[in-house]
């Protein structure tokens, strides 16, 4: 073949490819959105509310974002594990304590899995929890405030990925270790990983605000524990954790942890573990971890805990069983009835579904194929209920609609596969754009899903939105699952990287929203109840400004007598007592952030003036018609100046 012919052939192939691509384009524009009434299904008229709240993890943003469904509108960003200069979270004196850990102040984390509190196996709208992956933590967010109220560090953990999955009564949420480590931590050769590094499965008391704590931890073989979900109904009292790297590899995991045909789901009988703990099993291991809680006046109080209850398998031999599960399983999801345990083997060719009742029989009959570190491994055939054939490539996560169907994401083939529980037959599939990770049906991991919508959370968007340079938005896709066939309704962009998400019917939250904080209940030590109490006090180099805001002025708004080298504390109390009237505070040259102060609350930001001069401060939240007038000046005199301390407003 001459060079020219080769070239012509290549051109020809190129043209064929183009034609195919454009045909595909035509096809997809018709098939992706279905009929023309799709727009009306996601149209929420101006002034109307969405039907559902959707809570999307922020991934590497460390936040939680709140969207409305079906519109997809972004309503709120709740900062959790990351400093948030937008409102001063993690910068103000009142909130800095939320980031305290045994490693010191850690102002960022990677938040993956939001989890709503439940009562009787159904989301109840009290709180939502989310994990911090990198420096193991779990957080509780109050859903009357949409603010992070509590953060607990997890001791003896690394890579808190399989967290914070909750029991149907919110008694416990769990935290499992993605990375096994020496326990307790010590200096040792990485090559000695196998047999020496361990994982932990932690059970955390979740149902009393301010009292989150590790109830007990189970030390388990040095696999990578990935995700979890609680048993419910008949399987109440059990928790299921996936694991991979049963090879116990410590390097090049993509190859070395992908060798075994089957890894394990760890089925943990946590009620049995409770009994063992109650009867004195296990030991109190000395350690150090932080508990941070927004206490009185929502000022973060950090407490160091010195000990944790640890159980090894020999302390309580019948509390854990391993269910062999094909090829590095990722998600583990329990159907609404509590009978079926669905695993997403990310390299598997089928979706294995275990049966809880068969598992109980297998345990009773001791149908074991061996054991690992004293943990019995049940026979695969003795526990499997069925396998879903042809589920798409790279099955990861499954949610349920409450009508007998399950929906599984296939990351590699970029689709969602709908299949029937019991018959294990695939009944429908729909492409996603592109590479779907988690999916969410409101209540879809609970005992009563609101099986109307499904949200696919995609890792890659490529051409779906206007391009924005190298980094593109992740995306969500809303899919109607009310009929036999899934229908794509809407694309909407996500902030950060959404992993898991949760959804809840809006009626459960609307009426419980806190509108402002009653001023008479504000007992902040640096707060004021009225303008008459505003003042400036010097204590050595520390200067405390007791400042108030009300439409449309600060009190005081002129401050003199500050000196270079002082540390100025602006304690700003918002005297407003009406909904939706925050005031902001920003001062030139602050090395921190602004403050956004809600009505009735007091927040503090520090300012260390570097140079003499007169510096303005102003309100950053457009509060009223005279917002632009809401400002003031601080005069900064040189070190050693005798300028007297003076302050006032309107004089």
């Amino acid at each position: 073949m001459s060079v020219k012919t080769k070239k012509n052939l290549l051109w020809g192939l190129g043209i064929v490819a183009l034609v195919v691509a454009s045909l595909a384009g035509c096809l997809s524009s018709e098939t992706q959105t279905g009929s023309s009434d799709v727009a009306s299904q996601v149209y929420v008229a101006p002034g109307s509310y969405d039907e559902f709240y959707a809570f999307m993890s922020g991934g590497f943003s460390g936040n939680l974002t709140v969207h409305g469904l079906p519109s997809g509108r972004l309503i709120k960003t709740v900062p959790v594990f990351s400093q948030f200069p937008e409102n001063g979270y993690g910068y103000s004196d009142e909130t800095k304590g939320m980031f305290m850990t045994s490693f010191g102040f850690v102002p960022w984390d990677d938040s993956h899995h939001p989890e709503l509190s439940q009562t009787n196996g159904v989301p109840d709208g009290r709180w939502i929890f989310i994990n911090g992956n990198n420096t193991p933590r779990v957080a509780r967010i109050d859903l009357g405030l949409f603010e992070t109220e509590e953060i607990l560090e997890i001791p003896n953990s690394a890579g808190n990925h399989g967290s914070p999955f909750i029991t149907p009564d919110s008694k416990y949420l769990v935290a499992s270790t993605r990375f096994s480590i020496p326990i307790p931590q010590r200096d040792m050769a990485i090559s000695e990983y196998k047999g020496n590094f361990k994982g932990t499965l932690s059970f955390i008391k979740a149902d009393v605000p301010g009292e989150m704590d590790v109830a007990f931890q189970l030390v388990v073989p040095g696999f990578n524990y990935d995700l979890a979900h609680a048993g419910k109904g008949p399987s109440y009292g059990w928790m299921f954790f996936t694991s991979y790297n049963s090879e116990e590899a410590h390097t090049l995991l993509e190859v070395n942890a992908s060798q075994n045909d089957k890894d394990f789901i760890a089925a943990v009988n946590w009620q049995r573990a409770e009994e063992c703990v109650a009867s004195g099993a296990g030991k109190d291991m000395k350690t150090s971890y932080y508990h941070n809680y927004m206490g009185e006046n929502r000022i973060a109080v950090s407490t160091v805990k010195e000990s944790v209850k640890v159980l090894v398998t020999s302390d309580c031999p019948d509390m854990i069983y391993f269910l062999p599960t094909p090829k590095s399983p990722h998600g583990v999801d329990v159907d609404p009835s509590g009978e079926y345990i669905v695993a997403g083997g990310k390299l598997a060719t089928v979706i294995p579904v275990h049966s809880f009742s068969k598992m109980m029989d297998a345990i009773a009959n001791e149908s074991f194929e061996g054991e690992v570190d004293g943990i019995p491994v049940l026979k695969y055939d003795a526990v499997i209920a069925g396998e879903v054939a042809n589920p798409g490539l790279g099955p990861l996560h499954t949610e349920f609609d409450g009508n007998g169907f399950a929906y599984t994401t296939a990351f590699i083939s970029s689709e969602i596969v709908k299949w029937e529980l019991g018959t294990w037959q695939v009944v429908d599939r729909i492409p996603t754009y592109y590479s779907v990770g988690h999916l969410m049906i409101p209540g879809g991991d609970s005992q009563k899903p609101w099986g109307k919508y499904l949200v696919a959370l995609n890792k890659i968007t490529k051409d779906r939105y206007l391009p924005t340079g190298p980094e593109l938005a992740h995306s969500a896709q809303l899919i109607d699952i009310s009929g036999d066939k899934m229908r794509l309704l809407l694309d909407f962009p996500m902030m950060g990287e959404p992993h898991y998400a949760q959804g809840i019917i809006a009626d459960l939250l609307i009426d419980k929203q806190v509108k402002f904080f009653p001023l008479e209940e504000n007992t902040h030590p640096y707060g004021v109840k009225s303008e008459a109490q505003t003042r400036v006090e010097r204590e050595g180099r520390d200067v405390h400004v007791y400042m108030s805001t009300i439409r449309t002025h600060f009190s005081p708004d002129n401050i003199e007598g500050i000196r270079v080298g002082d540390q100025v504390f602006f304690h700003v109390t918002n005297l407003e007592q009406d909904w939706d009237v925050p005031h902001g505070f920003a001062v030139q040259g602050a090395n921190t952030s602004e403050l956004l102060v809600m009505p009735g609350e007091t927040r503090t930001i520090r300012w260390e003036p570097k140079r003499e001069g007169v510096y303005p401060f102003y309100c950053t939240d457009f509060c009223s018609a005279l917002h632009q007038e809401m400002s003031g000046y601080v005069r900064v005199s040189p070190v050693g100046s005798t300028t007297p301390l003076a302050f006032g407003t309107g004089e």
């Binding site: 439409r551 007592q577 009406d578 909904w579 009223s624 018609a625 005279l626 007038e629």
Partner: protein, 194 residues
């Protein structure tokens, strides 16, 4: 007075007890930014917000136009009114118990006077608040006054103010009308008997 008249007059005067527990008048303000509404209740002894903090927020809004702050403690009428209403109840009860007609007439006369004086007083307070504005106010519109309507609705800048009797006001009206009618028919029938 006949037995029936005495009973009716007695009940009509007792109806005034309602004024001690519910507002007599309400002024409600409507604006786009207040979809949930904002307003105040005028009681015989106090001025309160329709919702907690409404009065504080109305005062906050009013400061832009230079209106004086509404401070219930500084309105002397609110300390007198409970006694006046109490007096009317006592007179009504006395008329009912004794059956003396002239006491009934005196009660009606006093009641009508109270009503007229009250309305005039309410108008004058409204006039004062609406006209006597701080000359240094942020929002000054020449010729603009912010007196709320005595009764009815009126547009004041971005707000529409609605001023209407509240439950206590209606109770007072019913009390006066029923008492007056009872006395009127008692007199008519007694004349007819003569």
């Amino acid at each position: 007075m006949k037995k029936g008249t005495r009973l009716t007059v007695g009940l009509a005067s007792l109806l005034l007890v309602v004024l001690y527990v519910t507002p007599i008048w309400q002024i409600t303000l409507e604006a786009p930014q207040y979809p949930e509404g904002i307003g105040m209740h005028i009681r015989i002894d106090n001025v309160t917000g329709q919702k907690p903090n409404d009065l504080k927020n109305i005062n906050g809004l009013n400061h832009y136009i230079g209106m004086k702050e509404i401070v219930p403690e500084s309105i002397p009428e609110l300390r007198i009114m409970p006694w006046v209403i109490g007096g009317l109840i006592v007179i009504g009860r006395t008329a009912a118990m004794t059956g003396w007609r002239w006491v009934g007439y005196a009660g009606i006369g006093l009641f009508v006077c109270t009503l007229l004086v009250g309305l005039v007083d309410f108008y004058m307070w409204g006039y004062d608040y609406g006209h006597n504005l701080n000359p240094k106010a942020a929002i000054r519109i020449p010729g603009m006054a912010y007196q709320p309507p005595l009764i009815g609705s009126k547009k004041l800048l971005n707000f529409t103010a609605h001023s209407w009797p509240a439950v206590g006001g209606w109770a007072a009206a019913v009390s006066l009308v029923v008492g007056t009618l009872a006395m009127f028919f008692d007199r008519k029938s007694s004349r007819g008997a003569k």
